[in-house]
């Protein structure tokens, strides 16, 4: 495990067996950092109710990336969902996704929305990008606001931990988990036209799972 207090080795969580459909692609290491231009990090920011598993993740792109999103159609949508839907309404690109685990920031009203805006603006400042290019995802206990002070004070270390190496993707995939028993991260390489292209991703989820996203 790392000597740096609070940065728990990502070995603390096994990786899910990825059951990748067959096709003209090959699986490669790297998850969200496999594609060119992306970096990621996952650290312990003191957000989880208990334990010191990483709980704060950041995925960044070196350039303005074309951005798309799909969001729950649950009417009691969490603040980060409302915020991201607004961002993708006004902007076609994005530069970063901040993800916190521990508190869902759902059913938290105007104060919860304000927390989301503040966290996004703080990341934008540290990355020297426009505030509307930072998207946010949250997961955890519904009804609880984000531990904002702990989150904001962890951001400099999170940004400093960003790397395009596989470790960045692996630690981010652990940091977004809640009741998951395994982390979920995958990347593939294929040819689009005459160019080698990579597609990667990470996900979390184990309970309250019946997505109806649009």
């Amino acid at each position: 495990s790392s000597a740096d207090a609070g940065v728990v080795s990502v070995k603390s969580m096994p990786a899910a067996p990825i059951l990748l459909p067959e096709g003209p692609w090959k699986q490669i290491p790297g998850g969200v950092t496999a594609a060119k231009g992306f970096k990621a990090a996952g650290i312990y920011g003191g957000l989880r109710a208990k334990g010191e598993k990483p709980d704060l993740a950041l995925v960044t792109c070196d350039v303005d990336a074309t951005a798309a999103g799909a969001f729950t159609t649950n009417l009691v949508a969490a603040a980060p969902v409302l915020y991201c839907r607004h961002i993708l309404d006004i902007s076609e690109t994005g530069r970063a996704v901040l993800i916190n685990a521990g508190q869902a920031n759902a059913a938290t009203g105007d104060a919860g929305y304000q927390d989301t805006v503040e966290c996004s603006n703080a990341v934008a400042q540290l990355l020297h990008v426009r505030p509307e290019s930072v998207l946010i995802e949250s997961t955890g206990v519904i009804g609880q606001r984000i531990k904002k002070e702990a989150l904001l004070s962890s951001l400099p270390k999170l940004v400093a931990s960003l790397t395009s190496a596989t470790e960045g993707a692996d630690s981010a995939a652990v940091a977004i988990t809640t009741t998951d028993l395994v982390s979920k991260s995958i990347a593939v390489e294929t040819e689009v036209g005459a160019t080698v292209v990579r597609v990667g991703g990470m996900a979390k989820g184990s309970g309250m799972i019946h997505p109806n996203m649009a």
Partner: protein, 218 residues
């Protein structure tokens, strides 16, 4: 809650990328279920950097778009299946394949209806074809009951809408072995001769699911 972040270095126009992501989500994350609870936070964010230097994709009909779509579908399905595989208290992944429907959307609705049934039978290692047929029946999709075919792994349980005699011990052993290795139970369903097919994924409902969630307070 499920969260996802997808990244690619392909170059894609925004409106095309947003349509591709929507389509992939409908074939992956929107086709999984663990407990039937739709979260307040479910989100997938997908970013395309264009840093590969590929030609910018500006039409869904182009072969480049179709190649990238297939790849994006695979990545999202791989992740979606890992979520269902890791369902709280689950001992196995259940993959439901539906064919013979009028179109992909109808097949998807039937597949998800079966995946969404608590199907506690799988946890009990009970090849309960009746519950599977019942979940097909309440999916809200019209089909001719005489076309219904249900198999569990390689074991045919119903054909032409008629229950068949089958080796109950072999069928139960199939379920038991899947649970022992946290493997996959395949349920294949056909509802006619249409071209529509789709998949959905779920997991078995165990005592542990109830225990985990009885202690998870707001």
């Amino acid at each position: 809650t499920m969260l996802g972040v997808m990244t690619t270095d392909a170059s894609v126009a925004t409106n095309i990328w947003r349509e591709m992501v929507r389509k992939s989500v409908s074939r992956s994350f929107n086709q999984i279920t663990v407990d039937g609870d739709t979260s307040t936070n479910d989100t997938v964010i997908a970013l395309a950097s264009g840093a590969s230097g590929s030609t910018k994709i500006s039409s869904l009909e182009s072969s480049d778009a179709q190649q990238l779509q297939a790849c994006l579908d695979a990545v999202m399905q791989g992740l979606a299946k890992s979520i269902a595989w890791d369902g709280e208290g689950a001992t196995c992944l259940i993959e439901i394949t539906v064919s013979g429907a009028s179109n992909e959307a109808e097949a998807a609705k039937i597949a998800r209806s079966v995946a969404s049934s608590s199907l506690a039978a799988v946890y009990g290692r009970d090849p309960n074809w009746g519950r599977i047929a019942c979940a097909v029946g309440y999916a809200g999709i019209h089909f001719n009951i005489n076309d219904l075919r249900v198999s569990l792994g390689d074991i045919l349980l119903m054909n032409n809408g008629q229950p068949l005699p089958f080796d109950r011990y072999a069928a139960s052993t199939y379920l038991k072995e899947a649970g022992q290795i946290h493997g996959t139970v395949n349920i294949d369903i056909s509802v006619g001769n249409g071209h529509g097919s789709s998949k959905a994924w779920g997991c078995d409902l165990s005592y542990d699911y109830v225990k985990i969630n009885a202690e998870y307070t707001t």
